[in-house]
């Protein structure tokens, strides 16, 4: 358990660095560190499927951010120095909302089963009967492609629509 706590500390520290620093490239790299820490935490919670997907997706996301920053060739942020008056009202209202959200989530998270003892009613049926009814040795793959295949179809549609949206927005328009 000690590794989990140390990783959470590293993740929160680099998240604060990513949000506050002035150099845009440095904040993209700190974002990469947050993603790596999340992937290592997926391994420690015994979820190797998620760890593989999270590492590759996070590498691609850092590549996309770096591509945008290099294309527009702006090295430093254009926000001025010092505290300007327009940011005081959103910051104060966010802190009040944040404290309220945090305190109420303490009550809400108490209703979940304790960390380490999940209630596994449906999952026990999937684990017991998964191998002879679907034939797959990977229980997660059996769930996403056989027991809940309709959700995978929905996800394929969402991915298709997002890719279509990117290609439409960044089309090379023939104006002349």
């Amino acid at each position: 358990m000690l590794e989990l706590y140390l990783l959470i500390l590293a993740m929160l520290a680099s998240a604060l660095v990513a949000v506050e620093t002035k150099d845009l490239l440095a904040s993209a790299i700190s974002m990469g560190l947050v993603g790596f820490a999340v992937a290592i935490m997926f391994v420690l919670v015994q979820a190797p499927d998620l760890a593989i997907v999270q590492i590759v997706v996070e590498i691609l996301s850092v590549i996309f951010f770096a591509a945008v920053i290099f294309r527009t060739t702006h090295f430093d942020t254009t926000v001025g120095k010092g505290i300007d008056r327009e940011v005081v009202f959103p910051a104060v209202s966010f802190f009040i909302f944040g404290t309220l959200f945090f305190i109420l989530s303490l009550y809400a998270l108490n209703d979940l089963p304790r960390f380490g003892e999940p209630i596994m009613k449906v999952a026990n049926t999937y684990i017991r009967e998964g191998l002879e009814r679907t034939g797959a040795a990977n229980v997660v793959a059996a769930i996403i492609l056989d027991y809940r295949g309709y959700d995978t179809l929905g996800e394929a549609t969402v991915l298709f629509t997002a890719v279509l949206g990117v290609l439409v927005v960044l089309r090379k328009v023939g104006r002349r």
Binding site: V56, A67, T134, G135, G149, L159
Partner: protein
């Protein structure tokens, strides 16, 4: 972003890109036996092409050809996934019925419809993410022309 990188990067990219593609194919095909599956393998396959484009420059890789190529493969992947799901409906029972023979467990050809579905999703996700990368990073800007 149009020109490539130095000679060292080009040589190593040429050597390694084939191994990355093979690894992505392995993760897609063994999705029902080991962790991974269609999504992880598809992203890794896209990653091998992205490595080649970044090392050699987009102009030399022929971005127009790649655009058409990825559009065809992405549509093929999505349509074949839908066709596999509709096969259950046509054969009589319900949508997404697992109707291929299930074979012996822990072998490569087993578990019915899960293997073709993994391949379809791997092709679709890989081609889609390659198209997104080409649009974001490799085409010319309006203001640079």
């Amino acid at each position: 972003m149009g020109k490539g990188m130095t000679v060292i990067v080009k040589t190593i990219a040429r050597l390694i890109a084939g191994f990355i593609f093979l690894y992505g194919l392995y993760i897609v095909l063994h999705g029902h036996l080991t962790p991974g599956g269609g999504f992880a393998g598809g992203v890794i396959i896209a990653g091998s092409f992205i490595l080649l484009i970044l090392a050699f420059g987009a102009q030399e890789m022929g971005e127009k050809m790649l655009y058409r190529f990825t559009a065809v493969f992405e549509s093929l992947g999505a349509l074949s996934f839908l066709l596999l799901a509709l096969l259950g409906l046509i054969a009589g029972f319900y949508f997404f019925l697992n109707l291929f023979p299930k074979g012996t467990p822990l072998h490569l050809i087993s578990s019915g419809i899960i293997l073709p579905a993994n391949i379809a999703i791997g092709v679709k996700v890989g081609a889609g993410l390659l198209a997104v990368f080409l649009a974001l990073a490799a085409t010319k800007f309006l203001m640079e022309e």
